[in-house]
Chain length 372, copies 2
Amino acid sequence: MSGIRFTLAATDGAARTGAIDTPRGKIRTPAFMPVGTQATVKAMYPGEVRALGTDIVLANTYHLMLRPGAERVARLGGLHRFMNWPHPILTDSGGFQVMSLAQLRKIDPDGVTFRSHIDGSEHRLTPERAIDIQRLLDSDIVMQLDECIALPAEPAAVERAMRLSLDWAARCRAAFGDGPGKALFGIVQGGDLPALRRQSAEGLAAIGFDGYAVGGLAVGEPQATMLSVLDETVPALPVDRPRYLMGVGTPEDILESVARGIDMFDCVLPTRAGRHGLAYTRFGKINLKNARHAEHPRPLDEASDWSAARDYSRAYLHHLVKSGEALGAMLLTANNLAYYQSLMAGARAAIKAARFAAFKAEVSAGWTTEDR
Amino acid sequence: MSGIRFTLAATDGAARTGAIDTPRGKIRTPAFMPVGTQATVKAMYPGEVRALGTDIVLANTYHLMLRPGAERVARLGGLHRFMNWPHPILTDSGGFQVMSLAQLRKIDPDGVTFRSHIDGSEHRLTPERAIDIQRLLDSDIVMQLDECIALPAEPAAVERAMRLSLDWAARCRAAFGDGPGKALFGIVQGGDLPALRRQSAEGLAAIGFDGYAVGGLAVGEPQATMLSVLDETVPALPVDRPRYLMGVGTPEDILESVARGIDMFDCVLPTRAGRHGLAYTRFGKINLKNARHAEHPRPLDEASDWSAARDYSRAYLHHLVKSGEALGAMLLTANNLAYYQSLMAGARAAIKAARFAAFKAEVSAGWTTEDR
């Protein structure tokens, strides 16, 4: 029935490791999905994204429906061929960006109407159209359309958005149909209200999805809020399906969420930070804009497997960042994604070895040894 | 006596092919040197620049003396280590950029005083300081300081600048000393006046340099003017030393200049054009901004050895360029440098086979088959 197969290999407390098998390849979990907003992981060659340990990337339906357009991508053979990435792709439904980027958005029970942030043209997304667009893109993991509201919000507003999202979940499920070789994920909403989160999770499970995402987090709330929502929500999700925490997060957020049973993550942080002069390393964050690095002869990490971390001095990276050179963004993005993927590989190995808590403590201790 | 060895392997008419041997590696001639203005060939990894057939890159003294500073580069182990490029580097003297970029420049017989375009700070370049900076950078091929004046100009002004450049050439030669393992090149000036060009060339030859550059061209004059200056100048240059045409040029400029006996080129064109959506191919120039490419499923060149030319549709490149994505600049820069280096490799092979004229005609015919 499901277009993909999820196999758990080991658990360690609530943390789990396994793999999602898709016709386009295996996704090792816990997995980090680099964000390829406009059909490109910014400042990276796709071969490089793959080489540093990426099994799946995320692309944004909102951006691609506006430019170049889903029908155009379909005529060009689908998103994989378009962006020269033959491996799995997850697409979001567009709902989140409609709320954060589009102009003059108007939501109604049937869908949402909005104007493009690029040229002001009017567009409409319904649950059925969101599925159709993702089918045109030929996405491997398709997300339901949902309404994600900003926190803090009134309980009544949170409940209304959760119930609308549940209604849209059922419509997406119906529109998706069989989807051979593809997966459809439902999205848990309910803000920071445990009862609503549980209702949402149970409602989605009753409909039945190939995987379950936790949405509406990492929207500005404290980490403690996010983690307590996970504590309430994850136990209500089916154990035999992958769980995806949308838009998260820092390395620390990710380890804390893995500890709570999350299997998949996406976040712009490693790529965006790389374009802004910030390096993630096992020693912590390093701000290459800082003048203290101007004559620092050491690389980010001599022991790294990756050229970006090993073959360029911090002084050179500082120079590139200060000079606005593209190579600075390229090297720091590569370093950051390599670090994130090595963190995920470490997490997977630690869970298999039943020492995830120790791994998390060791990694956290390392972060305190460098400047922030 | 010379820090490098230049060997001619074959000539075909005035065209010649050979190699410059330096302690850091061999430079096959005719050679194209990608421009690494601020110690980076923009939007390219150094390993990539190398892989597509580059033997030597150019870096700009003006930019590097201002940021990060020559003494700082020296303390960090020199420019090669700084930019992770262990192969030969040619640095210009800074004179050209002082004229085109700096503020409040004031030239006198001893040197030039100017303010940085970055922060307005005052700096001075003399022939001796230009040599000193290039020594601090640890450049393999060092250029004399010269005065390059814009064309058209009054004959008296052209002659004054030529004589000043000749005087500075002698001072640079004296300041350079032995320079073991390094080369010092003189620069022919004299605008579009044949008699002055010949006097400049003969004056430089009398001083004695490891190579001879033709400067003050590609500054806006018609191609015919440039080529007629070469016709007058090249025969006055020593046959046993490399000849470098500075700042040139289009693929057509390069082939015409190789036909006139030039051995080395540098130009921002392939890298700058790549950042502006323009691809150089064996079919001619392709402007990826043009809407006609929006659904074009073919790559730039299916038969290319290079991923950038072969693995991405023109529709995708159009999308990247229209979306302002870094990957567009990365792929088009890589494509353009790959095309330039394949052109140089073709020229070298054709000269060896004594069929350079036929090669030039075939290549030119290919350029007319695609849109411009």
